[in-house]
């Protein structure tokens, strides 16, 4: 009997160590996997997107016809994304490459575009989901956005679209309206960013919205205390 108990005990100890190692891997080492995937996406991007895609001074061209948009395979680079305040990067120091699709294996490469949502610069809602803790945590600091910040997106045609950050909310995972056609009822073309909330959990979702601008704007963000994020 004692031997059986000892065997079970050792088995549980070994399994406990395995679980701990998995947690360490999930929280810290998955970032390396995503870094490598983002480098691959950057290489893919440089081959498929015309000209120099990451040009912050590029003129916005909203006249390009929609039929230019070819379907993108799930997991392929769909857009490039970054955030600015007063011309300085926020949320992420690097340009984030967005992939097509939002299933969990796809999101290991980077934030994903909801396939049912609109394209960048479209008249509807361009929605993106990204991890907040694991797999590089691209949206770890999404909650730092303030009115006046800008969200920049470059599509596969090399066009840059600039969105002005509007607001953020904490919602339940089942509140699908946040990625709907016109989530805030403003009628304006939107970008919606969804991520986990709180950090290290996905019990809720943190949602950030931006409205499409006709032209890039000078950021008017100023320092100071941030407003509390409303819960709906």
């Amino acid at each position: 009997m004692a031997r059986v108990i000892r065997t079970i005990g050792w088995t549980l100890i070994v399994l406990g160590v395995v679980v701990l190692l998995y947690v360490v891997y999930l929280l810290w080492f998955t970032g390396f996997e995503t870094q490598r995937e983002q480098r691959d996406l950057a290489d893919e991007w440089s081959l498929t997107v015309p000209d120099d895609p990451i040009d912050h001074d590029r003129e916005v061209d909203r006249e390009a016809p929609e039929e230019d948009d070819e379907p993108v395979d799930v997991g392929d680079a769909y857009a490039a994304l970054w955030f600015e305040r007063d011309g300085e990067p926020i949320v992420s120091d690097d340009v984030i490459y967005v992939v097509e699709g939002v299933d969990l294996p796809t999101l290991r490469r980077g934030p994903g575009h909801y396939p049912e949502s609109d394209r960048p610069g479209g008249e509807g809602n361009f929605a993106i989901a990204g991890h907040r803790t694991t797999y590089g945590a691209p949206f770890w600091s999404l909650d730092v956005l303030e009115p006046g910040d800008t969200i920049h997106v470059i599509d596969r045609q090399g066009r840059e679209w600039v969105y002005a950050y509007v607001e953020q909310r904490i919602v339940q995972p089942t509140e699908l309206w946040v990625v709907g056609e016109d989530p805030l009822g403003s009628g304006a073309p939107m970008i919606t960013l969804t991520t986990c909330h709180p950090r290290y959990s996905d019990a809720q979702r943190l949602i950030a919205w931006g409205e499409l601008l006709d032209d890039p704007i000078e950021s008017t963000a100023e320092g100071g205390e941030r407003d509390e994020i409303p819960e709906s």
């Binding site: 999101l107 989901a129 990204g130 803790t133």
Partner: protein, 76 residues
């Protein structure tokens, strides 16, 4: 200290066995292999079933997770 070692230097009795197994029992090396197999199977199950299940319920940034309310309470 093995289970079949007797305390205080007493005769360990009939369970003593140079192969490490009890009289008529399974040899120790077979038990060790069985233990390794059990651990290996457990690790495979963890990584192919349990961990992905946990990840899906703790690291999903997308909208539309239609968990039943009672299951939602289990989310951490």
């Amino acid at each position: 200290m093995a289970d079949n070692d007797a305390p205080n230097g007493d005769d360990p009795g009939p369970r003593a066995d140079p192969d490490g197994g009890g009289r008529g029992g399974i040899p120790r090396w077979v038990k060790a292999i069985l233990l390794l197999v059990v651990i290996a199977v457990a690790v495979v199950v963890l990584f192919t079933t349990v961990f992905p299940w946990v990840e899906e319920r703790t690291q999903d940034p997308t909208m539309g997770t239609m968990l039943t309310p009672w299951l939602a309470y289990l989310r951490f």
